[in-house]
């Protein structure tokens, strides 16, 4: 199944706002390519765990741990590509 990448990114941003309690933020506030962790959105490792769990549950994909996870979660763009790739595999 081909996933509409734009729609997927939107859904991911919405998921992040809900799951990570990003109060007051809208999907439009989150840049596709901005770093999620450290600088940028300023998420921490606890958020990474929470987001991984939420992504696995929502999309039925298996999210890697450790170093591989860093690349996947670098930005909304990389996350969306990962999910789309995993779903069509």
């Amino acid at each position: 199944m081909m996933m509409d990448l734009q729609a997927l990114k939107q859904e991911l941003k919405q998921l992040m706002i809900e799951q990570l309690d990003l109060r007051g933020k809208q999907p439009a506030d989150i840049d596709d390519e901005a770093p999620l962790f450290g600088a940028g959105l300023g998420l921490d490792s606890l958020d990474a765990l929470q987001l991984a769990m939420a992504v696995e549950e929502r999309f039925g994909v298996s999210v890697p741990e450790g170093e591989a996870a860093r690349e996947v979660f670098a930005s909304v763009e990389s996350l969306a590509n990962f999910v789309a790739g995993a779903k069509s595999a």
Binding site: R23, L46, L49
Partner: protein, 759 residues
């Protein structure tokens, strides 16, 4: 009946600032322990020394997909019927300690009971949640708060003169020991039974796993290949006794609680502050308080959970604090054999530390093959023969809530250092009232009902005005308390806290001078009968429905009853003693008591004491059936009061001074001859009273306070904030018009009073 001298001493004492002169040293006259290595403190210690590991494959928990199948479970035993497991574990350890100290069950002299824990009887509540549908199944959350262990032990072993429950996450057991020590050192009781307990449960097994901090294999503290912690369960208890009493009755003194330090890191909800500076400072402070220095320490029982973060931080802390002495000082973590026993850990490990002194053997650090820092002198597979003389026991909890205990074989040169006769001021108060919001009374299924509750419009939003990034995981209580805190002082970021610690340059100091000049951060004590019930229910529902892989990792650290205290302290940058007092409906009143205790111990020179009555939807729905006598208010309230030692700096703007405080005689007080009589009011006076069962009203009616204007705090309906609300109202009344105030909160089992006068 003639008034006998104990009563009149109490009255005289209350006219000073409730310190008795002199420094009573705190002896340990009994210990008890139950862990995965079995029953009986000394047989278990022998097995610990032999290197036996109690971490085995988990039994009795159907949790497919758990990160680790290993845990350290207590072997089966005959528990007193219908008591929760955590209380039964506590009972085993507590009665062993009492027996060793020479006290028969039910014939105890005047003795306090101080218990630390994190999950309480959550194991049994979890089982009940699975039984039926609807919100009623969650009732057990409310009928079994953390304070149940004190109630159970009072029934099984007591009565006790005073009971208290403390929570500071993984350092709760150590904190409970400190609170009990304060009673003994101040003369409030000559004896205290102190300790901690925690039974394994689904929530903690799943929660720690979801955080990714659990080793899939038995843990390996301090090993270069360590991969996380192993959970454990158990209980540890000690009898603390005033030296004069122990000597007078010829008790065998096993060792001494020579010193301690309690403080917070103000860094992150789960990550320790990596430099280890705060932890190092606390270790030196505990030593200094006892009159010891680094050169006196023979052994350190580390917190040593086996996680990457803790062991790295703790190693740095040890290096900061002890430097070259580390070549000589033995170090080990007992968690490689007993697992991380959470609320019990600080107490179990205190017992182990005492036994190391007694046996002149230091137990090994099991699971350690290749130390990441081989420059530390780890005890390897078997115990080492060593008479350590002075031992430190570390406990570092979620939210950076830390405690260090210092035990010694020989009596320390000082008593527990007290802030010698200082006066305490109520400096300021802050509150955040929220107006009522419409509630839902439909008895729907819990899940759907919670969803509806979340979309109810808020009249005011406690999160408004808070930094959204730093308050992100807060619940309403934490947000409301932080709003109140911001009215009292400016918040400090983690970076600012770190810079502050560095510039204050404490680490070079140790010894008695060090403790006198040590950095005393501001403390925070929160009265919180429960953790967040709504979130706990949601977490457990997900666990039950979808298994361990589906639970929310970020939610888990917010469920422990100390979570709001930890959250506020991190946001505001508070590094003094930070913890929750979890004594059911008396939590707020006893929060005031323990706040004053922390000040009297000199563990901080200023402290915020607070509680929040917020609209937890589940509590609001269930509470009428659990406690029909009390009306819950519409709306919410959070109150915070600042207490500080009187100095020229703290006097300006202070509202009132504390001229006395203490417990009223109650049913648990074996020495009660007549009911406590409050000292006569002399000026215009106000009485602030929360009389939970009418017995306080009887006391007052027979005294000169009967004619004084009264404010009945129960009428407001904010049961969660009673004692603190009273303190704030009373202090404000005095600042408006010079007068005297008496605050009375409690019931015939236990009640607490505070007297205030103008400066």
């Amino acid at each position: 009946m003639k008034q006998t001298s104990p009563r009149s001493e109490l009255e005289r004492d209350s006219s000073q600032s409730a310190h008795s002169p002199g420094r009573e040293r705190v002896a340990i006259t009994g210990v008890g322990m139950v862990t995965a290595l079995g029953f009986g403190a000394r047989p278990s210690f022998a097995r610990l020394c032999a290197g036996e590991r109690g971490i085995r494959e988990l039994e009795g928990f159907a949790l497919p997909g758990l990160r680790s199948k290993f845990a350290a479970q207590v072997p089966s035993f005959d528990a007193p019927e219908s008591y929760p497991r955590s209380d039964a574990l506590a009972w085993l350890a507590a009665k062993e300690a009492l027996a060793e100290a020479g006290f028969g069950v039910g014939e105890l002299p005047r003795m306090g009971l101080s218990v630390g824990g994190t999950t309480g009887s959550l194991l049994e509540t979890e089982a009940e949640l699975k039984q039926a549908n609807g919100l009623a199944r969650a009732q057990r959350f409310l009928t079994h708060p953390l304070s149940c262990t004190v109630q159970s032990l009072a029934r099984l072993l007591g009565p006790f003169a005073v009971g208290a429950t403390s929570c500071s996450a993984c350092s709760s057991g150590a904190l409970a020991i400190v609170r009990g020590a304060q009673w003994v050192a101040s003369g409030r009781t000559t004896l205290a039974l102190v300790g901690g307990t925690d039974a394994l449960c689904h929530m903690t097994l799943a929660g720690f796993g979801a955080l990714g901090v659990v080793d899939p294999n038995p843990c390996r503290p301090f090993d270069v290949k360590r991969a996380g912690l192993s959970l454990g369960e158990g209980a540890g208890f000690m009898v603390l006794e005033a030296e004069s009493n122990a000597r007078a009755r010829g008790a065998k003194i096993l060792g001494w609680l020579a010193g301690f330090a309690v403080g917070a890191e103000a860094h992150h909800v789960t990550h320790p502050e990596p430099s280890g500076r705060r932890a190092a400072e606390l270790m030196l402070s505990a030593l200094g308080r006892a009159g010891f220095s680094a050169a006196d320490v023979g052994y350190i029982n580390a917190h040593g959970t086996g996680t990457q973060a803790n062991d790295a931080m703790e190693t740095r802390a040890l290096e900061h604090a002890f430097g070259p002495e580390l070549q000589r000082i033995w170090v080990s973590s007992s968690k490689g054999q007993l697992g991380h026993t959470l609320g019990a850990a600080g107490a179990i490990e205190a017992v182990i530390s005492l036994l190391a002194l007694e046996a002149a053997r230091v137990p090994p650090s099991a699971g350690l093959e290749h130390a990441e820092h081989p420059e530390l002198r780890f005890v390897r597979e078997r115990a080492a023969d060593c008479a350590p003389g002075v031992v430190l026991s570390n406990s570092f909890g979620f939210g950076g809530l830390d405690a260090v205990l210092c035990l010694s074989s020989d009596p320390p040169s000082n008593g527990i250092e007290r802030a010698g006769g200082g006066e305490w001021l109520v400096r300021r108060s802050a509150w955040v009232p929220q107006s009522a919001a419409p509630g839902s009374n439909d008895a729907l299924h819990a899940g759907a009902w919670l969803e509806r509750a979340r979309v109810l419009p808020d009249a005011t939003d406690p999160f408004e005005g808070l930094d959204p990034e730093r308050s992100r995981r807060f619940d309403r209580s934490a947000a409301a308390l932080t709003r109140a805190a911001e009215q009292l002082g400016a918040s400090r970021s983690a970076a600012e806290v770190a810079r502050g610690l560095e510039s204050e340059g404490v680490l070079a100091r140790s010894g008695p001078e060090g403790s006198a000049r040590g950095v005393l951060g501001r403390g925070l004590v929160v009265g919180a009968a429960y953790g967040n019930v709504e979130r706990s229910l949601r977490f457990l529902d997900r666990l039950h429905a979808a298994g361990p892989k589906a639970v929310a990792p970020a939610e888990f650290p917010q469920l422990v009853p100390s979570a709001s205290a930890g959250s506020v302290s991190t946001y505001m940058g508070l590094t003094g003693p930070v913890f929750s007092v979890c004594d059911g409906i008396k939590s707020a009143s006893l929060a005031v008591e323990s706040a004053l205790a922390m000040l009297e111990l000199g563990l901080c020179s200023s402290l915020w004491c607070g509680a929040a009555a917020t609209r937890d939807a589940v509590v609001r729905e269930l509470f009428p059936s659990v406690c029909p006598a009390l009306q819950l208010a519409e709306g919410e309230l959070s109150v915070l009061v600042e207490l500080a030692r009187r100095t020229p700096e703290t006097e300006p703007g202070a509202l009132a001074r504390v001229v006395g405080h203490g417990a009223c005689a109650g049913r648990h007080d074996a020495d009660a001859i007549e009911p406590w009589a409050p000292p006569k009011p002399t000026w215009p006076a106000h009485l602030f009273i929360a009389d939970l069962d009418g017995s306080l009203g009887e006391l007052v009616a027979r005294s000169a306070w009967a004619r004084v204007s009264q404010e009945d705090l129960l009428a407001g309906g904010f049961r969660e904030t009673l004692g603190i609300h009273a303190l704030a109202l009373a202090a404000q009344a005095i600042s408006r018009e010079p007068s005297q105030a008496l605050i009375l909160c409690g019931d015939r089992e236990s009640a607490y009073w505070v007297r205030l006068e103008p400066l």
